[in-house]
Amino acid sequence: MTEQGDRWTAEQVLALAPDDASRKAGGRLGGAGPWLQIGGSASGSVWGLCKGSGSKPYRTVVDLTGPAYKCSCPSRKFPCKHALGLLLLWSAEGVGEPAEAPDWAAQWLADRAAKAERPAGGRAAPVDEEGARRRAERRAARIGAGVTELEQRLADLLRGGLAGQEQSGYAGWEETAARMVDAQAPGLAARVRELGTIPSCGPGWPARMLEEAALLHLLDRAWCGVAGLPEELAATVRSRVGLPASGEGEAVRDRWLVLAQYDTVSPDGRLTTRRIWLRGLAGGRPALVLDFGPPGRPPGLALPVGLVLEAEMRFRPGSAGLRADLGERFAAAVPCAEVPAGVSAGAALEAYGAALREDPWLESWPVVLGPVIPIPGELGWQLADAEGTSALPVPLTGGGSRSRGGLWQLAALSGGGPVTVFGECGHRGFSPLTAWQPDSTEPVALA
C-alpha cells in the first residue's frame, strides 16, 4: 500500500459484506491464522492464500479502487468471506511493504487495468433514432392517458371529500396505482400508493393527504405542460413521473466522501433500494447514488461510510442535481481524516427550501448538521443547535425515518453533548443517518 495510515477501518470493510452470515464468517477469517503469502501493491490491491477445508488454498485478490474481488472459492457471494477476511486482516495489521503481485493475482489485476483503459462503452449498434423516437412518443402518449385518468381520480376525491377515505380503504388506491404502472409511469404509481396509506397514519392525516394529493396534481399539470418548461425542470418532471433520464448530465471529478449508505425494501419485498449519499470534498456538491437488488439479494454496489474515493460522478439531469452515477475511479478509496463541517438547524432548512425551487417534489435534502444535541422525548425527538434555541424535529414514522435503535445510538454517542450528524432534512424534519463524536473523526453509521 502507498501508506499504512490509509487503511480502512474494520467497520468500513464489514459494510461491504452482502449479508450477516458473510460478516460473521469473514470476521473469523480476519486473523493471520489461515492466511499465507499475503501482500499488497502500491497501486491499491491486496492478495493472499487462504487455507480452507480442501487441499488447495483459495486465491483471494481485492482491487481496492473498485472495490472489486476475485477468489477461487466456490461461493457466489460478493465479496466472499475470504475477501472480507483478507480485508479485515489488512485493516487490522496491514500486509507489509508494497510488492509485486504473484502471477495468479497479477493476471486478474492486469485484466482489470486493461478494461478500465478501454473507452467506456461506445454504443455497439448504430442507434435506430427513428424507432427510439416512435417508442418515446408511444410511451408519452400512454403516460398522458394515465395522467388524465389520475387527474379524474383526484378530482373525484376532492369532490366527494377526504372524510370518506378512512372507511373506503386502500384497495381503490392500489388499483389506481396498478393503472399507473400500466401507463408506464412508475413514479406516479409510487406516489399514488403512498397517498393511499395516509388515512391510516393517525391524527392529522387529512392535511397530509391534501398536501400529497395537491403535489401529485401539480406533477400531473407539469407533465401536461412539460414542453413549455425550462429544460432542467422538464427533466425533473420526467424523472418524477418515472421516465429514465434522457441524455448525459454533467460529469464532476472530485474526492467524494461517503456520508451514508442504507437499504430500504419495497412494500411487496421484491426490490431492495440502496441509497448512498456522497459529498465532493473540494466542490461541496452532494450526490445520491442509487443501486437496486432483486429479491433476496443485496444491491451490488457497496461504499463504506467514511471512505473517500477520487472519482468522476455523472449527474443525471433534473431532480435538483442530486442523482448521480459513479463513473471512473482514479485511486483506491481511503478513510477520511476529518469530520465534515456542519450547519445550523436554520441553514439546513434553508438549503432544503432552496432545493425545492428546482424540484418542488423533493422530500428532503442531504445536510451535515452540527454541532447539535439530540433531545430524546416521549412524543418526539429533536436535534437542537448546541448554541441558541433552534431545533429540528426527528420524524419517527414515514419515509426516510430511522429506527428507534439508531436514535438511541445517537443519544449514546452524544451523552447530552454536541455531535455532528449527517442526515436527510425535509418537510417532516431531520432523519439522522451518520454521526461523529466530538473527539473522533470516525463516522458511526446509525442503525
Binding site: 477501518t9 474494520a10 450477516d20 460473521k24 470476521g27 473469523r28 486473523g31 491464522g33 487490522a92 387527474e151 383526484l154 378530482a155 373525484d156 376525491l157 376532492l158 369532490r159 366527494g160 371529500g161 377526504l162 372524510a163 387529512p206 392535511a207 393527504m209 391534501l210 398536501e211 394529493a213 395537491a214 403535489l215 396534481h217 401539480l218 438547524a345 436554520g346 432548512l349 432544503y352 427550501g353 425551487r357 444535541i373 433531545i375 430524546p376 422525548g377 429533536q382 437542537a384 443547535d385 441558541g388 434555541t389 433552534s390 431545533a391 429540528l392 435503535g405 438511541w408 445510538q409 443519544a411 449514546a412 454517542l413 451523552g415 447530552g416 453533548g417 418537510h427 463524536q437 458511526v444
Partner: protein, 525 residues
C-alpha cells in the same frame, strides 16, 4: 393557481373544504372546482415546505457524567459489537453445531476481561449492551458495570432500560453515600427491594455492625420472604458482629427464617449457638462410638433443629446429622485425642452401629458450611480412589461443594487426577467448580480424556457437556496442542459409524473457539 390562491386564504380552510368535498360546499366562500382546490393546496404545500423554520428547542438533557475509564482498543470494540449482534442469532437448537464457535458464550468472558482491564463500553455500543443486559439477567451486573455512567444516563431517558436503575452492582452510583444517614434511611424505607439489598450490602461493607442496626428498624414489618432474603444476603462477609441479630432471629415467626438464622450462626464457630451445638454433638460422638440423641428437646428446636425427619429417615439419625452439621469442626480434635481430620475420618467410629455414613455426611455438610479446607480434603480422600470408596461421600454434587473450599490450584489438581483415574463421564459437576481458565494439568487431563473417548469409538455428543465447558474454560494456549486432534481420521473398526468425522468437527470447533478467545483477550490487552 392565482385565482385559487385568492379563494382559499388559509390552509385550515383548504383542509376543511377538502374534508367536506367541493360538491357539498354551500354558498358563502367562493365556489371552487376540485382542480382549483388542488391548485391552491399545491401552492400552499410547496410554499410551506420552502418556508419552514426551525422549531424551538425543548429542554436539553443534563450532560452525562464523564466516565474516566478508557474505551477499549478499536479491535476489541468491534469484537464486542460482533458478540452483541450475535447474541440474538439463535444457536441452532440441538443436533450438530458444525465447526462454528458459539458466540453467546463468549460475551460473558469478554465482559469479564474488559472489567479486569478497567475499560468502559464504547459509547455507540451502550444501547446494545443495555438491551443485552435486559434480555439476560446473568449478564446484567457486568454489562451495566461496563456501560457505566453513560448507561445510567441513557436508562433514565428510556423506560425500556429502567431496570438498570434498580439495584445491582451497575447502579452503585444510584445509592446514597453510606455515611449520609438521612439518605440511607430514606432509601431503606422507600426503596425497591433490590435497592434495599444493595444498600444493605454497601452499609455492611462500610461498617459491619451498621447493617443489623438498619435491619432491626423495620424487621418486624417485613414480609417473611423478604426477611429470608435479607438474612440470606448476610451470608457473604458473615462476622461476629451479626451474631446478636441472628440469635434474635432464632425466635422468628417463620420456620425458614429460623432455620437460616441457625445455619448462619453455626457457620460462625465462635457463636453461642455453635457452642451449644458442639456440646450436644460431642455428647453423641466420641472415640468410644456414636449414640444419637434420644429426643429433640426444646433447646434443640430453638437452635434450628428440625424435629420431623423426611420420609424414609430415622428420627435419631436425622437429629444426629443436624447436630454434627452445626457443630464447629474444631471441636473434634480434642474429643479424638488430638487427631487431625484425616485420621478422625479414617477411624472406624460407630462402624458397628451403622452410623458412619450419617456421621460422614454431616461432617461433609459442616466442612462446606464452615469452608474448612483440611476437613474437606480429608473427606474427599485421594482423587484416584473409586468414588464409592471415598471416605466422606460418593455424591458428586457434595464432592463439588467440598472441592470449592480448597485453594484453586489444589482443586484443579484433584479434578485432573480424578479424570485421569475415572474418565469424563462423572467429572462434569467437578469441572464446574474449577477456576477459569483451567490450569494446565487440568486442561491436559480433559483433552486426553476426550481423545481417549474418541479412540473408544463413542460419539462426541455423549460428551457435549464437557465439550461446551472446554470451549469456555480451556486455556487458549491449548489450541496448538489440540490442532493435531482436528484431522479427520478413519473410523476405527469398533467405532460408531461416522464418529471419527464428528470428533474431528467437534475438535475443530473447540480449536476455533479457543483461537477466537485468544484473539479476543489479546485485543483487550
Amino acid at each position: 393557481m392565482e385565482k385559487g390562491d385568492e379563494g382559499y386564504g388559509e390552509w385550515e380552510e383548504l383542509v376543511a373544504a377538502a374534508l367536506l368535498g367541493t360538491d357539498r360546499r354551500r354558498g358563502g366562500g367562493p365556489a371552487g372546482s376540485p382542480e382549483a382546490l388542488l391548485d391552491a393546496a399545491a401552492v400552499h404545500a410547496v410554499r410551506r415546505r420552502a418556508g419552514l423554520r426551525p422549531a424551538a428547542a425543548g429542554p436539553r438533557p443534563e450532560p452525562a457524567p464523564r466516565d474516566p475509564r478508557p474505551a477499549p482498543p478499536r479491535a476489541a470494540g468491534r469484537r464486542l459489537a460482533q458478540l452483541l449482534a450475535g447474541r440474538s442469532g439463535a444457536v441452532n437448537g440441538g443436533g450438530r453445531r458444525g465447526t462454528a464457535p458459539d458466540l453467546t458464550e463468549l460475551l460473558p468472558q469478554w465482559l469479564a476481561a474488559a472489567a479486569r482491564h478497567g475499560y468502559r463500553a464504547p459509547n455507540a455500543l451502550v444501547p446494545a449492551l443495555l438491551d443485552a443486559a435486559r434480555a439476560r439477567t446473568d449478564l446484567r451486573p457486568q454489562a451495566l458495570a461496563l456501560a457505566g455512567t453513560r448507561g445510567l444516563w441513557l436508562a433514565r431517558l428510556n423506560p425500556d432500560w429502567r431496570f438498570a436503575l434498580r439495584g445491582g452492582a451497575g447502579a452503585a452510583g444510584e445509592l446514597p453515600d453510606v455515611t449520609d444517614r438521612a439518605g440511607v434511611e430514606r432509601l431503606w424505607q422507600e426503596g425497591l427491594f433490590a435497592e434495599r439489598v444493595a444498600l444493605l450490602g454497601a452499609v455492611r461493607a462500610h461498617e459491619a455492625a451498621a447493617a443489623p442496626r438498619l435491619l432491626s428498624t423495620t424487621w418486624a414489618t417485613e414480609r417473611a420472604e423478604d426477611r429470608l432474603m435479607f438474612l440470606d444476603s448476610l451470608r457473604v462477609g458473615l462476622s461476629a458482629e451479626d451474631e446478636p441479630f441472628l440469635e434474635a432471629a432464632l425466635g422468628d415467626r417463620s420456620r425458614n427464617v429460623r432455620a437460616t438464622a441457625a445455619e448462619l450462626l453455626s457457620a460462625l464457630p465462635t457463636s453461642a449457638l455453635a457452642g451449644r451445638m458442639a456440646e450436644r454433638a460431642l455428647a453423641c460422638v466420641g472415640p468410644e462410638g456414636v449414640t444419637p440423641p434420644a429426643e429433640c428437646d426444646a433447646g434443640m428446636l430453638r437452635d434450628g433443629v428440625v424435629k420431623r425427619p423426611p420420609a424414609g429417615r430415622g428420627e435419631r439419625a436425622w437429629w444426629l446429622g443436624q447436630l454434627v452439621e452445626a457443630a464447629p469442626l474444631s471441636c473434634w480434635r480434642e474429643r479424638f485425642g488430638g487427631l487431625g481430620p484425616a485420621e478422625i475420618v479414617a477411624l472406624p467410629v460407630a462402624a458397628g452401629d451403622g452410623w458412619t455414613e450419617e456421621l460422614h455426611a454431616a461432617w461433609c455438610r459442616a466442612a462446606v458450611r464452615q469452608r474448612d479446607a483440611p476437613w474437606s480434603r480429608a473427606l474427599l480422600g485421594p482423587a484416584s480412589a473409586p468414588p464409592a470408596a471415598g471416605p466422606g461421600t460418593a455424591s458428586l454434587a457434595e464432592r463439588a461443594k467440598l472441592l470449592e473450599t480448597l485453594p484453586d490450584e489444589e482443586r484443579a489438581q484433584w479434578v485432573a487426577e480424578f479424570i485421569r483415574a475415572h474418565g469424563l463421564s462423572e467429572a462434569f459437576q467437578l469441572l464446574g467448580v474449577c477456576v477459569v481458565p483451567w490450569a494446565g494439568a487440568l486442561g491436559r487431563a480433559v483433552v486426553d480424556a476426550l481423545d481417549t473417548a474418541r479412540d473408544a469409538g463413542s460419539y462426541p455428543w455423549s460428551f457435549s457437556g464437557v465439550m461446551g465447558l472446554a470451549e469456555r474454560c480451556l486455556d487458549p494456549a491449548e489450541a496448538d496442542r489440540l490442532e493435531a486432534l482436528t484431522a479427520a481420521a478413519q473410523d476405527l473398526p469398533d467405532a460408531a459409524p461416522g464418529a471419527a468425522a464428528y470428533w474431528a468437527e467437534a475438535f475443530q470447533r473447540l480449536v476455533a473457539t479457543l483461537r477466537l478467545r485468544a484473539a479476543m483477550l489479546a485485543e483487550l490487552a
